[in-house]
Symmetry: C2
Subunit: 505 residues, 2 copies
């Protein structure tokens, strides 16, 4: 075949893979939003067939031939083909290097481990889960050997979620975070004046929570012709293609924040997927470039923008229209302080905007230790609890509120946790760059005019999909490499002021 | 390969085809129930890939080899394999006999024709649509030659929707229907005492219509753990697998009957699909056996059961709980007569339970004439209008309320219409057989206890899926071949009484 013909055939092949993938994503969405439970068994067969089809295509001899033939004259290919080829090669290598028999065993182990983990967490019994976790860790250690590694072994796992971000980088930035946040938390705990929050926890009809959430999504620039909002137990966003990016949220009667901040968070993810260049549709590049960059978009909107006083200067009155009387005697400042309350707690997903990163850092340090043989699975509960005491000043009383709280390890997702804190750092750094261009950022928030913010993000982040790696993207968007400085500056300034610690810092 | 191995490999191959099919069905459901419009373009690509995959598998050399190898020792195969093989062979032959180039042209023509038809109907201009219809007819005439035919050429098209039911059979039964219904309609029109219906058309909140519809579905035995009810412009039922059979309905503020009878209709279809033997899951046999038998289930519930006085003896009070005051001064008899009003009208989908079959018979006679070269496309509007005048006593004033009203021909679905009337005949015949076993049928309706009825239908109809052909199924369920007698008896008795025509008949 001519190079041109091979290129066309390759892109058609990839389009087909992505079609299977989109069908799969729709099935997952459907299963989480209300598929009848008796149909699930057969639906799992369907998932099996489609996943297998995708996997086979990603590792087929045809794919190997495409990679070999197109790599020779890479420079003559269209840019999108080049990036697609690189992505396909990465997936090919990753999938080909694990012996199929071992991979199958691992998939079965994962399924078992999740079930056991659920029971172990319920019983708060790490001992039950330990042998499964040990095997999951051992498998991943073997995978690291198969896949190879540069520098630290754990880098190989990090690369699954945050390509090209290494232990060296993370160690340095997480150290900066710890140095700023740990003393700040202890000062708040010792001297801080704590906000009143009782008025937050009042009955707020679900339908009204939804209406307000929709208002905010609209302000953010979420395109309702390219998405929809549904209700699920665990909120999520899923991008089937840029014209169909769906989000879900959950409603708590006595805590409207769950739905509203949850919707804003998923809305941040959704804006990313809705605004990826349409040229990338049908390729594996039509996705967020990494977990961390994805999280930067959700956390920018949820933690930074939607917890800004200026945002509520506009939206507090809007909220009151939907809320009934619970805020009648609450000032904007009281409200603002309440939704920004910081307090050490044991459960990551319930933690506040200040302490959140420490939860992540603890998990990162443990994973890094595990894969460098410096920590054994046996010791995990103790090390976990020690670190919570050291960084957050509180100690879990049992495994359920300690080492067993997250599903990630049971699912074999080692290397995933750091993305959350990376995302937060990226978010603060991105905001810092954004306000150099959008000099009236505060005024926009105060007038509910958030579209220019979305446009800036689309231009500098969303648009590129997976064509740029995270650090390259951050460098181009902000003018420098990843830096924890912007997040620490933001947190120190914000929380010192909120807790009247100015004199102390 | 050993026969056993070949059989296993064949069933795995078929399972995979059905997995693609289930994914496709879910995508269609999703597109009709709220998929964001901007995602549709890419979703169509996904449909293209999955449909093509299914089509390729159904006509592959591998499939040809399965058919050849397994046919040799057919008798030694499991029964399900035998039926699956026969079904696959049928599809293989059908798909293989049309030259791919012609089929592709035909698919493109279909898409164009539907668009043109929509515009032509809007403008009430048959001339616009005529050349497209001519080409669709010509294509189907060619297909008949490719596929071959026994007896009447039109039999080949009928067989697509109602396997093994022929012109000979239909001519005979439709004649019986005409002889009973046409004079009955004219008597009603001349001497009948017409019911009051104004109280039907009162505002009825949508949410309440839905609640009442759900009540009735529950009575029918619809399994909500294996289904769900959504809202769409065009109601439908879709069986993804027996554990996931979804229905939709639509709500008219001033006519609750649309939602309620629509839900019951789709519920009838859904009971069929929910109760197919689980042994057939993953095979092409896990479907209703024909359009006509499917329609017999929906029409039995919608037209026969839910328009029975006994049904409302129980449900009229239930309806009133949801309805507000519109029925406060309406007696059960007045209500019963109102929902059974019969009156000739021009539009098939708005027609009543008595005149409905005539709309179908007209279309059948026209299609039969077209494919036997006795009617030309040119003459259609005139022939259509003449037949309406002759059978129903009213004449369309234009093409929109005449020959252009249905989408079926624009979609190339010739041979489909008869299933509607066949379904109605089957339904009356099935009821007649059922009440021999369920001797307290009336009492069950009067007490809202409809489950035994569903169980009877499951045992005699649903359970078999596609393992029995329609006439075989009807013979076994009712003890005789298709007979219009039960429907005509039912209609004559019911409408003579409703319209006080007893002395006239």
């Amino acid at each position: 075949m001519q190079l041109n013909d091979t290129e066309t055939a390759f892109m058609e092949y990839v389009n087909k893979m992505e079609a299977f993938n989109e069908a799969l994503q729709l099935i997952y969405w459907d299963m989480r939003t209300g598929a009848p439970k008796k149909g699930v068994k057969q639906r799992s067969e369907v998932i099996g067939v489609l996943s297998n089809e995708y996997f086979q295509m990603s590792t087929s001899e045809e794919m190997a031939a495409f990679i070999a033939n197109l790599s020779v004259n890479k420079g003559e290919l269209a840019e999108i083909t080049q990036s697609t080829l690189a992505e396909c090669k990465k997936i090919y290598d990753r999938n080909k290097k694990i012996p199929p028999k071992e991979y199958k065993e691992y998939v079965i182990l994962q399924a078992h481990a999740e079930n056991i983990w659920e029971e172990a967490r319920e019983k708060s019994d790490f001992g039950m889960f330990k042998p499964y976790l040990q095997r999951l860790v051992d498998f991943n250690k073997k995978f690291i050997e198969y896949w190879g590694y540069k520098g630290n072994k754990y880098n190989t796992l990090l690369d699954l979620y945050e390509p090209e971000v290494t232990v060296e980088t993370i160690d340095k930035e997480f150290e900066i975070l710890k140095e700023a946040i740990i003393p700040l938390i202890s000062k708040i705990s010792d001297y801080g004046s704590h906000p009143e929050t009782e008025f937050l926890y009042q009955p707020f009809p679900k339908a009204k929570q939804k209406d307000f959430s929709l208002k905010v999504l609209e302000q953010m620039g979420y395109d309702f012709d390219a998405g929809r909002l549904d209700e699920t137990v665990h909120p999520f966003a899923t991008g089937l293609n840029p014209g169909d990016v769906r989000i879900t949220t959950r409603y708590y009667d006595d805590d409207w924040r769950m739905a509203v901040f949850g919707t804003i968070h998923e809305g941040g993810h959704a804006l990313y997927e809705q605004n990826i260049s349409s040229q990338l549709i049908g390729t594996p590049l039509c996705n967020g470039t990494s977990m961390g960059i994805h999280e930067s978009q959700s956390l920018f909107y949820e933690n930074i923008l939607a917890r800004d006083r200026s945002f509520w200067e506009y939206n507090f009155d809007v909220l009151k229209e939907y809320a009934g009387s619970q805020f009648d005697h609450v000032s904007l400042d009281e409200f603002y302080r309440a939704i920004n309350k910081a307090e050490s707690s044991l459960i990551r997903i319930e933690s506040d905007n200040l302490t959140y990163s420490l939860h992540i850092i603890i998990r990162y340090e443990i994973e890094k230790g595990l894969f460098n043989n410096e920590i054994s699975v046996e010791e995990l509960p103790k090390i976990w609890n020690d670190k919570y005491e050291q960084y957050l000043g509180i100690r879990p009383r049992n495994d359920a509120e300690g080492v067993l709280q997250d599903v990630h390890w049971a699912a074999g997702n080692f290397g995933y946790f750091p993305s959350y804190a990376l995302g937060y750092m990226y978010a603060a750094q991105i905001k810092n760059a954004m306000i150099k261009d959008i000099t009236d950022y505060d005024r926009l928030l105060k007038t509910g005019n958030l579209k220019p913010i979305k446009e800036w993000l689309t231009k500098h982040i969303h648009h590129f999909g997976k064509t740029k790696k995270p650090l390259e993207l951050i460098k181009e968007a902000t003018g420098e490499g990843l830096s924890a400085k912007y997040l620490t500056d933001y947190l120190v300034k914000k929380y010192s002021s909120l807790y009247n610690l100015n004199s102390e810092i």
